[in-house]
Each structure stands twice: as structure tokens, then as C-alpha cells.
């Protein structure tokens, strides 16, 4: 029972990060009309930036700042490329996926060549923090608590922005009908760029939580997370924010449970098999496609 509770808490922390990732990914699907496969790669590159700054300055505040800045800059820099695609009549949403795959390839290769000689990076214990609570077999680390609490707060802020603010209404209008939104005077290019900034901020925050929770990163982490994020997004229904919230949390819990009871590399395979079966049964996703 103690293992179950420990893995449940672990799963919820991991799941809350997946929720954030899927939310950022879906925001771009809905508002910018792109399938941004490289979004998790930007997150991983931000983790690397955070690590580099930490190595150079040993200043946590600067590390956090650089992490968020790199994520925002990368997302905003990719905007003109995708805008050029979405403006063309002869190019569909599949093209955005292909281009983002190419960006992902470039980022992964650069990380595997240039940073830390391609070796995985490890964060110092001062960054990760030790165990905070221990009762019986259950041990909660600082990373788990930060990920869980941070994840919940970020999701609440994001959903507040989306459903309670004027900018949120703009995003939702664009998600419903881009052309109608333009007709009623919404500056869609400006709003689209703003969605990249929001996704970048979210990405930077995710990078910080990931670095604290995992304590390490490798160049291939992006591919691995990207696969999960897109799979969760498809399982939930592409562009379905609420579905992504439920499925992201579920993935975290399933993965943690599998990790607790099944050996190493098989635990990820179990999560993928479950997602594969759901997609095969319901290719449109559990909660319905929103684009």
C-alpha cells in the first residue's frame, strides 16, 4: 500500500508536468494552428541553458531567468517560420509537423554535439534539494512537491488566462474560427505571437520543474517527451485542453505505477502500449478533436 501511495504521489507530480506540456502544445495547435513537435525540445534546450548558467555563475536566480528567457526566445523565433507556413494555401497542418520535426532534429543534434560533449547533464544537489518528508516507505522530495504544487498553480493561472481574461477570449475565438476572428477585428498575427510567448513562458516553467524533478537531462530527452506529449494530445483529442489535463495526469500516474511494479525500460513501454490501444480504438481521441 505504501508503494502504491508513493507511486501515486510520484505519478501526480510527473503528471502535472505532462499536463503543462500538453497545455502548451495544445495552445499552439488551437491558436497558431501548428503541431509543434519541437516544443518539448525547446523545453529540454531551456533545461540545458539553465544548467550552463548554473555551472558558470552558480546563481539560481540567473539560472531560472535564463531558462525562461531561452524558452520564450526559442518559441518566438520559431513563429515567423510557422506563420509563413500557415499563411500559405498550398501547405497544410501536416507541414508544420514536418518542419517542427526538422527543428527537433537540429536541436537534438546540436545538444548531442556541443553541450557537455554530448553527455547527459546532472544538476547539483543544491538545485534538486533533498528529501523533505519521509514516513514509512513514502518519501517526498523537494522536486516532487515543487512539480505538483507548481504544476497545479501554472494550470490554474493558464486556465484563468484562457477563460477569464480578454486575451483568453481572443485565443478562444481564434481557436473556434480564425477568419471570423479576423473579421470582428481581432489582430490575429499579434495574438498568435502572444500565444508563442505564453507557450514559451510555460515551457520555461516546465523546464525548471523538470530539472528539479529529474535532476538530469540528456539530448534525447526531447524526443522521448515529444512522443509522450503528442500521444497524450492525440489520446485526449488534438487541441482539447480539458482532455489534455485529464490524460496528462493519467499518463503520469500510469507511468509511475508501472515504474513501481515493473522493471525499468518496460514501464515506459507499458504507458505507450496503453496509449496505442486507446488510439487504435478511438483515433479521434477520448474527448474529441477541437480543430
Amino acid at each position: 500500500m505504501e508503494i502504491f501511495i508513493a507511486q501515486l504521489l510520484n505519478g501526480l507530480s510527473l503528471g502535472s508536468i505532462y499536463v503543462l506540456l500538453v497545455t502548451g502544445f495544445n495552445l499552439m495547435v488551437l491558436v497558431a494552428r501548428i503541431v509543434q513537435f519541437a516544443y518539448p525540445h525547446f523545453v529540454v534546450l531551456s533545461i540545458y541553458a539553465c544548467w550552463e548558467v548554473l555551472q558558470l555563475t552558480n546563481n539560481m536566480f540567473l539560472a531560472v531567468l535564463s531558462c525562461i528567457a531561452v524558452s520564450v526566445i526559442l518559441n518566438v523565433l520559431s513563429e515567423p517560420i510557422f506563420r509563413r507556413l500557415t499563411n500559405r494555401q498550398d501547405v497544410d497542418i501536416n507541414a508544420s509537423f514536418v518542419v517542427s520535426m526538422a527543428i527537433a532534429l537540429v536541436i537534438t543534434d546540436i545538444m548531442s554535439h556541443s553541450i557537455n560533449h554530448g553527455f547527459p547533464i546532472a544538476f547539483p544537489t543544491s538545485w534538486i534539494g533533498g528529501n523533505l518528508v519521509r514516513f514509512g516507505l513514502i518519501t517526498l522530495s523537494k522536486g516532487q512537491i515543487y512539480a505538483l504544487v507548481g504544476g497545479i498553480i501554472a494550470v490554474l493561472i493558464f486556465f484563468y488566462l484562457l477563460y477569464q481574461t480578454k486575451q483568453g477570449r481572443v485565443f478562444r475565438a481564434m481557436a473556434e474560427n480564425r477568419y471570423a476572428a479576423r473579421l470582428i477585428g481581432i489582430p490575429i498575427v499579434k495574438a498568435s505571437i502572444f500565444s508563442y510567448v505564453i507557450a514559451g513562458l510555460l515551457g520555461g516553467f516546465i523546464a525548471i520543474l523538470f530539472s528539479i524533478l529529474l535532476g538530469s537531462a540528456s539530448p534525447w530527452l526531447g524526443e522521448f517527451i515529444a512522443l509522450k506529449v503528442i500521444a497524450v494530445s492525440i489520446v485526449a483529442g488534438l487541441g482539447n485542453l480539458k482532455g489534455g489535463l485529464v490524460c496528462g495526469l493519467l499518463l503520469g500516474v500510469v507511468e509511475a505505477m508501472a515504474m513501481g511494479y515493473i522493471s525499468g525500460s518496460w514501464s515506459n513501454a507499458i504507458a505507450f502500449i496503453i496509449m496505442l490501444l486507446i488510439i487504435l480504438i478511438k483515433p479521434q481521441g477520448l474527448f474529441g478533436v477541437k480543430i
Partner: protein, 280 residues
């Protein structure tokens, strides 16, 4: 024949086969990466059957094609007309699951790799003969009702349905054919190279294949015939320091081609005008 030329010819042929396996389902708008999983399964099966059970190459090839088609057939029942990204995820998850199984299965060498696949005489000429046969087969499909139906589905699914095209059956057909060719490519790869490593069947292979397909041109089967040898052979010809950055080269090329020439270098329109000029 020098080793470099041998590898260039071997990789070029396998790359063309694999590009065609992605090209065919993309005719109906589906990015079907499941064929890479088919390739991995049949490569390991072929290597194992030849080394441990002494199966002759011809038998391994036939069974490999069957396995590839079967592996593609089962999911195609569900994703025959699924949205593109569902098909993408089905393919990617298959690759991940197959790779995990291979890495954890000591019988096929696990993470260390699988070695000692017996060589086959005249394999390279046989491979190119098969390439011509498969190319002719795809050419016939392209110029049949199936090919024209696929073109309509790619442009507009609603119009295709109105014209009486069964999108699911067509999608299944292309996915199964692609799986069979992927199965064939897997067996050929195993015998041509002689050793197998699970790291080969990853996202990087997909990236390289996508680059070859989209740079060559995804609207015609001929694009990859030119792009696969050039882009696939590039790492063999370049100095190792530059070649190690090939993923960056592929990535940048892919971005540029989609932005500047979305249909790729060789397009259907270009071939039609060539035919008209030369009165073929």
C-alpha cells in the same frame, strides 16, 4: 568493389525502399512511420532465421514481406482513415515498443546488437532487381484508379467520398503495401549490412527518410530515387567531422524545402511538362 561504394549502393537502395514506404501512405495524407517498426521486426527476424535456423534468403525474404504486411494490416483496421497525427503516433509508439522489446531480449542480442548474419551471394544485384520490380509495381499503382483515387483523397477527402472512393479501404491498402515493402527492406538491410543495432531504428531514421522524401518531392515516386542516394550517401562522402552533423544538415534542408518549395524538387507538374515536351 570498394567497401565505401558497397555501403553507398546498399544504403541507397534501402533508403529508396523506405522512402517509398512513407511516400505511399502519404498519397492519402497519412504519415505512416509504422513501416520503420516493420523494418526493425523483419530485419531481426531475417537475421535470426538465417543464423539460427539456417533459412535460405529467398524464404526469409518472402516471410519477411508477409510479416511486414501483417504488422501493418492489424493497426490499419483501426487507422485506415484515421487523422494524420493519430497515424503518426501509432507509428512512433510501435517503433518505441519494438525497440524496447529488442533491447530487452537477449536472444536477439539486446542493446549489444545482433551479429553474424550469413552473407548472400549477388545480394546487391538482387536488391537492385527488387528495387526495379517494386518501383514498377508502385508506378502501376500510381497510374491506376487507386493512384488517382489517392490523389483526390490527398486534396479533399469530402470530394473523394462524393466520388465514391472508400477512404478507409484505400488507406488500408496503402498502409499494407507500405508495410510489406518495409518488411522487404528490413530483410535486405539485415543481409546487406550483416549486423543489427536497436539504436538504428529511432527517430533519426525517420528524420533522414522525411528529409529524403520531402526534398526529393512527395508528390511523385521519382523524387526519392534522386534524393535518397544523394542525401543518404552524403555522410559517406563527407569528412567524418562534417558527416557527424548530418542530422543538422537534414533538419535545415527539410525546413528550407518546406518553406521554399513545399512539393519538393521533383514535382508531378514538372514530370508532366517533361512528358509533354518529349512526347513520352
Amino acid at each position: 568493389m570498394s567497401l565505401l561504394l558497397y555501403y553507398f549502393l546498399a544504403f541507397s537502395a534501402v533508403n529508396i525502399f523506405m522512402c517509398w514506404t512513407i511516400y505511399l501512405p502519404y498519397r492519402v495524407g497519412q504519415l505512416h512511420f509504422l513501416t520503420v517498426a516493420c523494418m526493425a521486426i523483419t530485419a531481426y527476424f531475417g537475421g535470426f532465421a538465417a543464423r539460427e535456423w539456417d533459412w535460405p534468403f529467398a524464404l526469409v525474404l518472402i516471410v519477411g514481406i508477409g510479416i511486414g504486411a501483417f504488422v501493418a494490416f492489424i493497426p490499419s483496421l483501426a487507422i485506415g482513415k484515421a487523422p494524420c497525427f493519430s497515424v503518426v503516433i501509432v507509428g512512433l509508439t510501435h517503433i518505441f515498443i519494438v525497440k524496447t522489446v529488442i533491447e530487452n531480449w537477449d536472444l536477439v542480442g539486446g542493446t549489444v546488437g545482433f551479429f553474424g548474419i550469413p552473407p548472400v551471394e549477388y545480394l546487391l544485384p538482387i536488391t537492385y532487381l527488387l528495387l526495379i520490380i517494386v518501383g514498377f509495381f508502385i508506378y502501376r499503382i500510381e497510374h491506376s484508379r487507386l493512384g488517382r483515387a489517392a490523389s483526390v483523397v490527398f486534396v479533399d477527402k469530402d470530394v473523394a467520398t462524393t466520388l465514391g472512393v472508400n477512404i478507409k479501404s484505400l488507406g488500408m491498402f496503402y498502409q499494407i503495401i507500405a508495410g510489406a515493402i518495409g518488411g522487404m527492406a528490413g530483410v535486405l538491410y539485415a543481409f546487406l549490412i550483416g549486423s543489427l543495432f536497436p539504436e538504428f531504428f529511432t527517430f533519426h531514421v525517420i528524420g533522414a527518410l522525411m528529409c529524403m522524401l520531402f526534398v526529393g518531392g512527395h508528390t511523385t515516386m521519382w523524387g526519392v530515387v534522386i534524393s535518397a542516394p544523394i542525401l543518404g550517401g552524403l555522410p559517406l562522402l563527407l569528412p567524418s567531422t562534417v558527416a557527424s552533423w548530418r542530422q543538422v544538415i537534414y533538419g535545415v534542408l527539410l525546413i528550407l524545402i518546406i518553406l521554399l518549395r513545399p512539393e519538393g524538387l521533383i514535382t508531378r507538374r514538372m514530370l508532366s511538362s517533361l512528358k509533354r515536351k518529349n512526347k513520352w
